[in-house]
Amino acid sequence: MASRIEVGFKNGIRDALGEKVKKRIIDNLSLPVEKISTVEVYTVTGDLTKDELKEAASGPLSDSVIQNFSINIPLAGNFDWLIEVGFRPGVTDNVGKTAREAIELLLGSNIGQRKIGVYTSRQYRICGEITKNDVEKIASGLLANDLIERYQIVSKTDFNFACGMPVYIPQVSGKAEVTVEEINLTAAGIDELLKISKDRILALNLTEMKAMRDYFRNKKTLDTRKKMGLGESITDVELECLAQTWSEHCKHKIFNSLINYTDGKKKKIIDSLFKTYIKDSTTKIRKAKGRKDFCLSVFVDNAGIIKFNDDFNLVFKVETHNSPSALDPYGGALTGIVGVNRDPFGTGIGAKLIFNTDVFCFASPFHKKKLPPRILHPRRIYEGVREGVEHGGNKSGIPTVNGSIVFDERFLGKPLVYCGTASIMPARIKGKTTHEKEIKSRDLIVMTGGRIGKDGIHGATFSSEELHEGSPVTAVQIGDPITQKKMTDFLLIARDRGLYRAITDNGAGGLSSSVGEMATYSGGCELDLTHAPLKYPGLQPWEILISEAQERMTLAVDPKKIKQFLELAKKMDVEATVLGRFTDSGNFHVLFGGQTVACLDMEFLHAGVPQMTLTAKWKQPKNRKPHFAPPPDLGKALLKMLSRLNICSKESVVRQYDHEVQGGSVIKPLVGAENDGPSDAAIIRPILDSMEGVVVAHGICPRYSDIDTYHMTACAMDEAIRNAVAVGADLDHLAGLDNFCWCDPVKSVKTPDGEYKLAQLVRANMAIYDYTTAFGVPCISGKDSMKNDYQIGKTKISIPPTLLFSVIGKIKDVRKAITMDAKRPQDLVYIIGETKEELGGSEWFALQKVIGNNAPQVIAAKAIKIYRALHKAMQSGIIASCHDCSDGGLAIALAETAFAGGLGMNIDLNFVPYRGKKRNDYILFSETASRFVVTVHPEDKRKFEKIMAGNITRGIGLVTSDGLFQVTGLGGKLIIKEKISKLKDAWQKPLNF
């Protein structure tokens, strides 16, 4: 029999969660609720006695100082409505798991043969005069996500005060018999092939289905199959495995396609964007750097590896988790961060995680229009994603040091959730280099960490499609950072003791992908799914193979070391299971219950996917020319600009992330006199005994895509590099990561403008090549997410093409680092770099509701000169503050520098080196790239100007102590005079919730 334990706060104890929910209901739904009390509910199965239940309730499950509990009767309390929210069967319940383990430990040997289960739910007891309809709105619109949670609503009059809510156990039921289905492809026609792909969510096109069919028509294939005891038909295990491996998500088919590109004048045939523009640029840069090349492993492993110093290597990877976050923002983002953690952790021989980054793209949280079906309100996505990354990062003990939030209406269709993680590894362990993988035939396949469930099935194929009516629920997962932390604690010890040979993560495609990729090192594998630890019975072999259940790593272990490996795992309370062995048979061979259920040729599996041929046609868009007069009150304009979502402070989000755990924090995301100015980049010291630092920064500017993705990309790259340089990074030791999020660029009935969108992708790649090589900043890793569209019925929303460019670099001595806040009155204010009339796609134009046509263009040669000179000035210790000019241009950079330093500023625009139509608003808000605002103590003036000689550098004013931000315009009239407190207030308010 199951029992219910309810835990609530004693009278007089503040219910902070209840208050937070109340505030959200009032803010988001405008409903008049007076009070909300929360009650935690533990539904316990396993026939515990009354005394045992009491022991559990009064022990681990409640805190006697502040809480009451009740067993099998409801907790007393007043309310008008009660909502209870619990998980649906099979959804990860981390609290339930922890409660079960706690009860098991509590009972000790008294537990006997009993099997304990704990399922959690939460009650929200609402006081307030609201209708059932309102309560429904609260439950479905705020508290529960129907995809993963169920809720019950009871009114005070209907509530049974004697028995309370009925017991409900969200157990996965039904023990389906194990079946391996066979599908005959050989005889299938075109329609049938397409139907198979669609019905099974394989996301494969006709050519790919045909390639599969041809493989099964091949005599050699059939001979091998016969030997293995397989028939002529493909098994569902093989079909699903191929679909995962060949998915856009895993194989990057668009990036590797053959593209006929034309820009209207010239034509070009591109055989793989990835190879032509990304991989080849890195090769070229490494060659040019010669002995100074710091790259160690690029594009081959889970993440890129560069040298940090002679003894340590740095690893960095950025991923996206857009589609899952659209469906379940909390679970999607949580899984995004703990998921990307496993990439750099499972790179080379394995590396310790040292920081996270996060960049989100949302629609306005103040969105007022009606929402299309299946789209969650952007405010809900914002808060859910924020909380997911908070739990994922904080609970894993990894500081979240850098990020941003970008807003555009079109991210309503799909939010973008970029999560990045870096790690550090000794350059050698026991004399062996650590950045490469090696696996020998006969090494054992071992899986560690979490168990396998139905969660995350079809994640890889699902993210290779647009969000549609039938998007699968199982694609949503909830991560468990503590299970993962326990596993990584264990694996780092196992690594240092040399207990395993190779490691990789289980991400998209699950075992199918992790074992499949590792098997390429030895030349084959024999995987027995019978041994796979499951969360609950009833999984079919194909589900076990492709499940994306979280917190799992796959390892290759020398049979001689397996005993030690498993013993250490057991001791450290980490599940580890041998699932087979690596071979050199040339086959990806899978068994279940002694029977072969899949046997695919390795070559076919990994290289058999046919190359797509696509057409890309570029046509320069002609946006409406802006016609608006310069506003009479530029002070007011500045206040408005500071309040724009893309410019305003993101402090409320940043504060909720632990950005200094691990003790190496040097430049935090928030800096300045009141610890609240916006940092350009982050610096940490991963080795506490050393003053060498890691610099991380990023650039992102999707608005310029409305003009030309070439310049969008160039600007994002320049912004990332400029941000890193602004805090003191050395340009010669910077590596980049490219993360493309595109809307579907393949022309089809659904996407008639596919050729233009593909041309946008081509141009972005051309910029990657041109600017990585120009700056000497090689890409070491990257990722693309190509189907960021929403289509249900006639509504189609495509995101603006978005490139996130992240950089990781080095600063030799962190004590030379610079922050962006003005330091002292009387310091001189300089602008570095020429300002041009480049307002196309700018925040200023966006405020006037125009796009324009002149997006900023990056002139790399000039930028490099500036970056090197500035770095030299920083090294000689004569820069007081440095802030990059980006969104909102010079005016925003100046205002931020002033109010972050708690100081005023007097600026004269007549001194600003400027080219273009003479307008004060243009000079203030143009977003020309490669510019900085720098302050310098007067005594360092000469030295500074000498170092900067040959670069456009001009003194434009002074830092003042009066707390006033004053700007003299062209012609000498004072055009802005505002208190910095007022400017800061305008900047801080919008997202302060």
Binding site: D63, D480, E660, A817, D821
Partner: protein, 274 residues
């Protein structure tokens, strides 16, 4: 010859500040600093009695899923040492009774509170009489706060400290005593070693200087001997000048001021009083 100081930093099941806590012990001059996974204690491979200074670092024991450090407390109370009759908690009590030092930071403080190691009025170890719960803001926050030292406190860790500036990084740091009589005793015996204060040193209950709404602005408490001490802010997060959020604009000593807490502990162990 001065007494050797052996420090143990306990990890596992979600702790995450062990590296910097060990670094703090090392920089303060401890002779031995071992980061020990709790399984090593539970398997009897290492024993607490071999150390004189136990560090319980911050983190999220078992994800704080049942409330901060609740499941961790349950483990400490009910876990056996494999192959021995001894319980882990008995080993811990022995350590305390030997007059040795325990420092709990953040999650480690929450653990000490919920295990009843603090304030442990009348040396009644194991009875929880206060708690640390959700911040009034209902959110986790990372922000630096000023702490005012209670100079009357027996706390051996805060000697010579007046005002300290450290980061808090928690969602459950609000100190609440079980009753007003417990609070009275904590105050009478000066067990509150640190209070959240304004820049000028005035204790405050106002957010954000008091980041969680702690009763009487209490940020850290000790036991009556002053040898057991727990606090929500992180002294191990401020070991270097460059950890300070305003190091690029203020004149600061090269050494981080959080180190004082650890130096005091080690000085005490080397002293005759130990």
């Amino acid at each position: 010859m001065p007494r050797k100081v052996k420090a143990i930093v306990l990890t596992g099941n979600g702790t995450n500040c062990e590296m910097e806590m060990a670094q703090a012990c090392k920089l303060s001059g401890a002779d031995v600093v071992d980061i020990v996974h709790i399984s090593e204690l539970l398997y009897g491979e290492r024993r607490l009695e071999d150390y004189s200074f136990l560090n319980l670092p911050g983190g999220f024991l078992d994800g704080d899923d049942l409330g901060s450090a609740k499941a961790g407390t349950n483990r400490f109370l009910h876990a056996h040492i494999t192959g021995h009759k001894e319980m882990l908690f008995a080993q811990l009590l022995k350590f305390i009774n030997a007059g040795k030092l325990i420092l709990g930071v953040c999650n480690g403080f929450q653990l000490m509170i919920k295990l009843g190691l603090l304030p442990a009025l009348d040396d009644n170890y194991g009875r929880q009489s206060t708690t640390l719960t959700h911040n009034d803001s209902g959110r986790f926050e990372d922000r630096w706060v000023y702490l005012k030292t209670n100079t009357q406190s027996p706390c051996i860790y805060t000697k010579g400290v007046d005002i300290l500036y450290l980061p808090v990084r928690h969602g459950e740091g609000k100190f609440i005593p079980e009753s007003s009589s417990i609070l009275q005793q904590v105050e009478k015996k000066n067990l509150f070693a640190f209070q959240y204060c304004q820049k000028n040193g005035l204790p405050t209950i106002d957010y954000p200087a008091n980041p969680n709404g702690s009763i009487n602005a209490i940020a850290g408490i000790c036991n009556e001997s002053g040898r057991l001490f727990g606090l929500m802010p992180h002294p191990e997060a401020y070991l270097y000048r460059t950890n300070h959020p305003r190091w690029t604009r203020e004149k600061l000593p090269e050494e981080g001021q959080g180190l004082t807490i650890f130096r005091n502990a080690i000085k005490f162990i080397r002293s005759k009083k130990f």
